[in-house]
């Protein structure tokens, strides 16, 4: 294992250990995502029939909103005891710190999606599992893109007084392409017409492109962002 990968693993494992003790992020994020889906279900499902394309939009709104909650807490833990300073003094590659935090967030968001995706499929009678592999690809690529930007912004804002307000204000405009690609890709997957699958693949390719761009930029900018 390289030094970079080892550092990523040590940081991710620590975050998961803290989360296992408190369950703070997982429970709040999961509760918020489920509440979000249920509220929309009351609005968009009438007489057992959902509004066309609503499932795709609501799935990604639930992921984005609950993801923002998780991101807000990710660096808050490092701020409370100023442990972030201890990590910045340590002889580690600072991008490894970013990747470690990102992987931790991705694992938590995956756990949320394991509950939310079947719930959306059930409430909106959406065939989300008909092309399971493609759906998995859209979810994975979309979540990585959203969390990659969010982790960087959460780190940037860790010393800002109004970080709770600023995070969504900065995050959503930048991640709009990811959310749109996720929504349109999922909607294409749910189409019954022949062109749906190729269209979903095209959106997936776009999400992968966004992921590469966002992660590259985040790795490049994390070190200067963390230097006071």
């Amino acid at each position: 294992m390289t030094a970079f990968a080892r550092t990523v693993w040590v940081i991710t494992r620590k975050d998961l250990l803290v989360e296992a003790r408190t369950r703070e992020i997982l429970l709040t994020t999961l509760f918020f995502a489920v509440a979000c889906v249920l509220v929309f279900a009351f609005g968009f499902v009438s007489e057992g029939r959902a509004v066309s394309d609503a499932a795709a939009g609501i799935l990604w709104i639930a992921i984005a909103f609950s993801g923002t909650l998780a991101l807000g807490r990710a660096f808050e833990r490092e701020r409370q005891g100023e442990t972030l300073r201890a990590l910045l003094i340590a002889p580690i590659d600072r991008p490894a710190l970013y990747v470690g935090k990102l992987v931790g967030i991705l694992i938590l968001l995956t756990a949320v999606e394991v509950v939310v995706v079947p719930l959306v499929a059930l409430m909106f009678q959406a065939a989300l599992f008909e092309h399971a592999l493609l759906m998995l690809g859209l979810l994975a690529a979309g979540t990585v893109g959203f969390a990659a930007v969010g982790t960087l912004f959460a780190a940037m804002l860790v010393r800002a007084r109004s970080r709770d307000v600023m995070l969504p204000v900065l995050l959503y405009p930048i991640t709009v392409p990811v959310i749109i690609a996720g929504v349109r890709g999922t909607a294409a997957l749910l189409q019954t017409e022949a062109g749906g699958i190729p269209m979903a693949r095209a959106w997936l390719a776009m999400l992968v492109f966004f992921d590469v761009v966002f992660i590259t930029l985040a790795l490049w900018t994390f070190e200067p962002v963390m230097t006071e």
Binding site: G81, E82, T83
Partner: protein, 214 residues
């Protein structure tokens, strides 16, 4: 990378229009304890942050033996330990887990041996598996000091380490710092409580509004 002294040469630091440090020159040698005295806002913590490579000086240079801060930054940071106002500990984790985490972050060999040694030095062996959130201020401070020393740093930076400690805990801290000095560590500590450090420092300097007082 190793070094036997820390040298600030004409170090200044500004934050916007506010000048936190003004042309500070100071040398601290291995095996000595240097106390930075001064009121709140005098620039003590800023000087420590610069020594820790967390802040860049606006002008002037810092030398670690023959090495500048910009050269081999990671190797240099591996030789620095810092204890801040906040204790740099995860309250949800136990003492052993905190020490183990930082030992792994520093990629140290013999992690478990160092964890056991750190717990013994902190007098926390009996409570090694209790979450840090259940500890008293003195216990946390002792653990935080062992966290800062777990990689046997050459340079130990302590920001107001005596704050909030009772006399017994202060005495224990003074003993631990004397041990670090005997091991050849360069100890640089800040305090505004002169009584707390008693006869501990080999040298005391006072910062007044970012300048070293004569």
């Amino acid at each position: 990378m190793d070094f036997t002294n820390l040298q600030f040469i004409d170090v200044s630091r500004t934050f916007g229009r506010r000048r936190a440090l003004h042309r500070v020159s100071l040398t601290a040698e291995a095996g000595t304890i240097t106390a930075l005295l001064g009121h709140n806002g005098a620039g003590k913590s800023t000087l420590l942050s610069i020594a820790a490579t967390l802040l860049q000086p606006s002008s002037g240079t810092v030398h670690y033996g023959g090495h500048a801060a910009t050269n081999g930054a990671a190797a240099l940071r591996a030789r620095i330990g810092m204890l801040g106002h906040d204790l740099y500990l995860y309250p949800e984790l136990s003492a052993a887990e905190n020490l183990r985490f930082f030992a792994r972050i520093y990629a140290l060999p013999d992690v478990e041996r160092r964890v056991v040694r750190g717990l013994e030095q902190a007098g926390l062996t009996e409570r090694a598996d209790d979450p840090v959130s259940s500890y008293s201020r003195g216990m946390r401070q002792r653990l935080a000091l062992e966290r800062a020393l777990i990689h046997d740093p050459r340079l130990l930076l302590l920001d107001e380490p005596f704050t909030g400690l009772d006399e017994a805990a202060r005495e224990a801290l003074r003993d631990r710092l004397q041990t670090a000095r005997a091991a050849g560590t360069i100890v640089l500590l800040t305090t505004h409580d002169v009584a707390a450090i008693a006869n501990l420092p080999d040298r005391s300097v006072t910062l007044v509004e970012g300048r070293l007082a004569a």
